[in-house]
Symmetry: D2
Subunit: 360 residues, 4 copies
């Protein structure tokens, strides 16, 4: 998170739902010293509610549990019992759907990391640098659903990496088709997640539900607002999803068919020139560059490049002609930061910047 | 290697060139108790020549150096100094090219594992079950080059895995285009090969020269004999090659465009029905089935499936529709056995079976 | 398992309790085609009972679920509902204690893999080659507890590897003290077991409850029968237990103080000469040699040596002087086979051989 | 490296010998923006000399080659051709011995990372926080050898981690004996170093020459100055050295015999209280604490704790009674930073602080 100063005088109170899990912890890490947001509440399942956070959460990772959070009493995921108006939802899909609706109905702005509402036409699926214009459907969302609050979602962690590599190309040339293969880190499956017996020295060529998510979310990310709905881009997408023995960082190999004339060199320039939507620049979580084209012939690599831009930058490389479609390349990004918690926090910052969140 | 009995009364003498390296050792493993071949000579670089094999070779792997070979005096890679008429060449590409020509000129049948001559139109690039008919150009090879011997090559280890998965589909439907992504084991780079600092917890999205080899060799494997040359198949191929932290077993994700109408179900049937060229069945190194379609939703996996058919079977799975081309699937095979030494030995058996090698 | 022929005319019926877990499956693998035993029943928790095995068990590993077992109806772990007189218990320690007692009381011979009863003085803790004489307390066990059946246990997987390396030394020289450090494979923790996020590229220097188990079980393995109880050997033992990113095979570094004069050379000879208790030779699960001294300076290694003797042989190496105690060495063995299921099956064979199990 | 300000007005010029290798690069990383030192020259083998650094060095790691160094012309390792008075030597042991002597004779202060001179009685083997008093032999070194310069060495990377954990215990209680087992990261072997085929999913229980180095260097680190020589501590040490599949961070399990009465609790306090020699505090490379006692039952772990104190802090844990000796514990430290380059740079800072290096 960059060190830009706050322009508001007070920080907005925020809560994390599903705060004890791996993604919840990633939210906490990014919110405990955020210049615009003040993490005042953590909520989790009934089993954890009522206890101190430090007594029910097994802190994962190499840092220490932030002391301010450690002593918080965990609340239930009940919209009446959470006071903050902005909630980051890290709940599992099995419960996220209804909980998020309840919070939105109760007037909360919900930044969701779950898949449940992502594909609904009036729910914006946002990467701040890619499609901030999709926030335009929020008004329709509230009107149609009679909500005082709103739901804004981020995408699947692998999709976000791919979408950021494709966005500059789609803007410049249009994309007609994409065939992509992912090699996804184990942290994408949460904790405890992937058993070591399944992945040590192995590749698992299947991740449940992942390929359809990647295929449909990519179309929505690159789509346009059409009245009260988002119309997916007319791009055919085929995904192969694999799990590999990597800690953090999803790598994606992409073959891309262009809608208009372009070659590897011009696509490479489109990628290096891109700096994303103007509204997403200079936000606290914005990296210096959302996309970087790696120099090395053998880059990007997850272990060496995953922390570029504090984990918020997607690194692409090996832009070259594709003998079947038009161009091919590799993209890699941090699945927990750019692909989940960091993306949601950046989306919340975008909402503030765009005036969708009321002044604190 | 299956236990089929020898039909000849005497075993043919064979030699291994480049016998001290990783692939050379794999040849030795498969030849020390071969029913048709008797390993009588090992050859290597000048530095090793004249010494006992056990004093110059660092035996890799979990078995013991075969005692019969341990005490052999290593010969130089000189066609005058090697007596066997059949030589398996595991030399590095930097020296294999000229050495193989010298041996062929001297009347030897060279089974090559190097890339040097693979793409020459009159040199058969053979997978025994896939394109044994390509041996038909050997006569032209000898005539054109004035050789008494011959060179027969096998392919790149990743290409062989892909080619075996594609062959039944090309036979039944014709293939117009293939986009494939490999996740290749470290043993494919030989020994010492990939430094552990480069690959532990990592993916390296580049293997030098690999992608062009895969793209052109695939076309040749699936091509046809046209007079004195092999004419590559008219298939557009795009490859993404990656190195992953797997010991043995290359995994390949393939998206396939068909030349005639076919769906995932019929492609799946073509794969399960396939048993390869009749001439390649019942050879000592032939697996019970060259291709197996895995049951599990998350298979094939290198660590779990790599030894299927003693490492000679390619396992495919996840045959499903492809939203951009026609079908997609995953294939996995043992890069050292099916992808290198086992393939060459099987090719030599095929030569015997086809009467190309004279009686012992 | 070696191919020795059965000397009985009929195979004894056996059951596996806890058949759906990782260790239960290892038992099934070793029992489905056993020459002396016929696996006729599988039992598991109430949740699985009443269902077909294939519908409730997620088969782990690279082989296929044996079809004979796949169609069995899982029984509850109730001594009245299991008919076989010999039961292999792979239940978790949380339920194994009471269940094993109930089965023993009901007349069953229980081969236990759980820790619950291991340290009771009248319960033999057996490695067939090391301390078969300890079976002598079984009569006292039955008498004192009023059981018609009996409980015989094997040890903790790391302890078994260490005990087999120490047994020949204790026999020849006596051991006064041992300091050992384990590097244990992830399969020792069962499935799902160790999360990949915890162990990829990492060492975890702690395994819950492991060190006290190793320290006390080692003393019991090397102890003697004293009337109706086993008296632990008077050896001071200190264990450091670590988890490492290895699939199968526990490696143990041992520093050993001798009770009588001996040096590295004579200890090395004691190890290579040792073939274990005579009663444990020639049993169906006995490896050709229970202990092998590796040649290589850098052996044993789990990935390269774990399958020695079909996983039933412990490999030792690097026997050398210890500047603090007397000698030091490395031992490695297969934690699932020699350290768990294979050890229990071998113990059952020993019971048959010793006439403790009635004729079938 | 902490941000403490320089007390000198000018930075001293320094050179790195063996600058192209893995350790040489680690030196460069720590010197390019050092407050007291200015890296003005890099030297390497004859093969590289005369070329630009960027053309002959393959930069390892996830950062970029510092541009100031990239354009430097590499010098030969010739004392007449290197102008800086302080040289950090990262040369391989095969050439370091003579080169370091030549530089010392020519008046240079040589901070050596090689094993060659470590065990000579008048060559200080220094960990700044542990035995800065050993610098007292430098005068004798110069006098006896007739050098204008001097050689100061750091230790083997595993030894340094162990020595820092033992130093506070030796200071408080005296240590009579130590049995230790290391689990060492692959980066300790340099680059390319350990082949991935040797270490993926494996443990290698042997590192050439490592155990004798650990045993003798530990005694010297904890020894005392006795006239013109360092007298090793009278501690019996036994080491078991293993390589594991970890990127950075050596883990060491230690069993310790005390010379005077002490228990785990008092040893734990000695460890937490320790802050090292006063002269080593507040140096630019000094971490806030040289030693930290980890809280978690399962810590330290290399992947989670290796960067503590910027890689300069050794983390210990699990201090508990040892049933054979007196206490046991685990220690872990960064082998490249605390165990090599960082240690040497800290030693150089100590020389400045102690006035051994003349004012700049």
């Amino acid at each position: 998170m960059s060190g830009r100063t706050d322009f508001g005088s007070r920080r907005r109170k925020v809560a994390v739902l599903g705060a004890t899990g791996a993604v919840g912890q990633a939210f906490i890490r990014r919110l405990v010293s955020h210049p615009w947001f003040e993490l005042t509440e953590v909520a989790a399942s009934e089993r954890s509610a009522g206890h101190r956070y430090r007594d029910v959460a097994r802190w994962i990772g190499d840092d220490e549990m932030p002391s301010a959070v450690a002593s918080m009493i965990v609340r239930p995921c009940d919209a009446e019992r959470v006071h903050a108006d902005i909630v980051f939802c890290a709940l599992d899909a099995s419960v996220a759907g209804e909980t998020e609706v309840a919070f939105a109905r109760a007037g909360k702005i919900v930044l969701s990391n779950a898949k449940n509402h992502r594909m609904e036409p009036d729910v914006p699926l946002i990467i701040a640098e890619v499609n901030s214009a999709h926030l335009g459907v929020l008004e329709a969302q509230r009107r149609q659903r009679g909500w005082r609050g709103a739901i804004v979602t981020n995408g699947n962690c692998a999709t976000i990496v791919a979408a950021m590599a494709l966005a500059p190309i789609h803007e410049r040339f249009g994309i007609s088709s994409v065939i992509l293969t992912t090699m996804q880190a184990v942290s994408g499956a949460g904790y405890p997640g992937v058993p070591s017996l399944d992945i040590l020295g192995n590749v698992v060529p299947y991740i449940a539900d992942e390929e359809p998510k990647i295929e449909s979310e990519l179309q929505k990310f690159l789509g346009v607002v059409d009245g009260s709905a988002i119309r997916p881009a007319d791009i055919r997408v085929s995904a192969h999803a694999n799990r590999v023995a990597v800690e953090h960082g999803h790598t994606v190999c992409l073959s891309i068919g262009l809608a208009s004339s372009g070659d590897a060199a011009s696509v490479g320039r489109a990628l290096s020139d891109w700096s994303g939507d103007a509204s997403a620049r200079q936000l606290p979580s914005s990296p210096e560059r959302p996309l970087v084209v790696a120099d090395g012939l053998d880059r990007p690599q997850p272990r060496r490049d995953v922390d570029t831009g504090g984990g918020m930058t997607v690194v692409v490389g090996r832009v070259r002609p594709d003998p079947v479609l038009d161009v091919k390349l590799v993209a890699m990004g941090h699945n927990i930061i750019r692909g989940a918690a960091g993306a949601s926090v950046l989306n919340a910052e975008l909402l503030v910047h765009c005036g969708i969140l009321p002044d604190a």
